[in-house]
């Protein structure tokens, strides 16, 4: 595929479906804040009750994620950042977009391994995921890594949306690009706060009960 089309596809997939997925994930996680352990279980159950859920996962999440991630690495390592010479905000965001892209790619692989893959292997059920998350975020190192992961993901998504609007010729002039910057950066703040809030919620004691039983299983896999 010619560079033009592969880059366009990369840009499109970042917003549709991956952008929608990250917002969906943010809302699902937030049910841990609002409804606690049971609320989170209900949200997970709701998602898994969707018809053709495996097809939605494959074509709405995994394949787009694989393409966006792999092609994104290619884009990231083609860059030659010059932020010490050109200290403007857009250039900083150019660099951060690439750094967060690499971080999020690693984070997503790790996170998928701990959660979705363990469900697929039958080591964990969907109902136990809240407990799995509890165990992970109670480890101070993992908690910090998760914080970095979700904040990076929030930035990469929000700033990527800003670039998407430019790359598809939707925001053309400097005023339009400035206004969309304000909107996208506000979105970054909101998404980052909601994800972080949910991570703190997973530290709550009510997630503990089912968590401890699984701790050993997970430890075996995490090493």
């Amino acid at each position: 595929m010619k560079g033009f089309y592969s880059r366009k596809l990369h840009s499109l997939l970042g917003v549709i479906p991956l952008g929608f997925f990250i917002l969906e994930h943010m809302i699902t996680n937030f049910s841990a804040v609002e409804g606690g352990s049971q609320g989170f279980k209900d949200s997970v159950a709701l998602l898994n009750s969707l018809p053709l859920v495996i097809v939605l996962e494959i074509f709405g999440i995994w394949l787009p994620l694989l393409y966006h991630g792999v092609y994104g690495m290619y884009i990231a390592f083609q860059a030659k950042p010059n932020n010490t010479r050109f200290k403007n905000e857009r250039n900083l965001r150019y660099l951060l977009q690439r750094i967060t892209g690499v971080l999020v790619f690693a984070f997503v692989i790790w996170h998928l391994y701990e959660t979705r893959l363990q469900v697929a292997l039958g080591n964990v059920t969907h109902e136990e995921l809240g407990g799995v998350m509890h165990d992970i975020v109670m480890n101070p190192v993992f908690f910090i890594l998760y914080l970095i992961g979700v904040i990076s993901a929030a930035f990469h998504f929000s700033n990527g949306l800003w670039s998407f609007l430019v790359s598809w010729g939707i925001t053309v002039g400097p005023r339009a690009q400035r206004v969309s910057s304000y909107i996208c950066m506000t979105m970054f703040a909101i998404v980052a706060v909601l994800f972080t809030w949910s991570l703190f919620a997973f530290r709550g004691v009510e997630f503990q009960a089912e968590g401890t039983a699984l701790l050993e299983t997970i430890r075996v896999f995490v090493g």
Partner: protein
Amino acid sequence: MATADTKLTAKKVKFVVTRQDDPKSASYTEEFELDYRPGMNVISALMEIQRNPVNLKGENTSAVCWESNCLEEVCGACSMTINGKPRQACAALIDNLEQPIRVEPMRTFPVVRDLVIDRSRMFSALKRVKAWIPIDGTYDLGPGPRMAEKKRQWAYELSKCMTCGVCLEACPNVNEKTDFMGPAAISQVRLFNAHPTGEMNAEERLEALMEEGGIEGCGNSQNCVRACPKGIPLTTSIAEMNKATSKHMFKRWLGV
């Protein structure tokens, strides 16, 4: 004795010049110190070094090579990196520069010698995107359609591009790992596609932008628009061409 005294108190200007003897050899820096003269710029300083090629240590050296033509920031030949910023040396007034003044070639381009660089890739890019208006025929084609005055005014801004290469030097995506043509040629597509006669070949230029190393190479760092010495709205041009190529892509898919 009086002359000696004035020499001691005379204001000096110090330069650190990055030099390179030929395209393949390693670069090195050489320092020069010149007497200050009011209104001097980097080109007049380089001329001074040419007249008396003696470095700071007092050694005789070869004159520093550079390129320049118009000396009024319209030709684009004297682009170089001055105190870290790519710009036109003729418009770089010594009074406005922090010392020592560091002068380097724009290394995004192949260095020919000292500050002389080879900007051929920019001219190849202009050829690739057909940045001209074909009006030749075997008979008189008559006057073309008129351009609206309002359009002419913004298009004129784009026509100020002097292919100086500053935007390519500022762009983090123009480097040895990519074949991105850089912002200048993309903006020229917008210019020639805006022209009422040039518009007749608009699709050819858009398709050239959709080839390898074309518009997809932009990473939105927006350094180009801030670095452009002519104040050309390069990022607006790029976004406008993003819109035009996206539309063209769908038209091509759905139209046949």
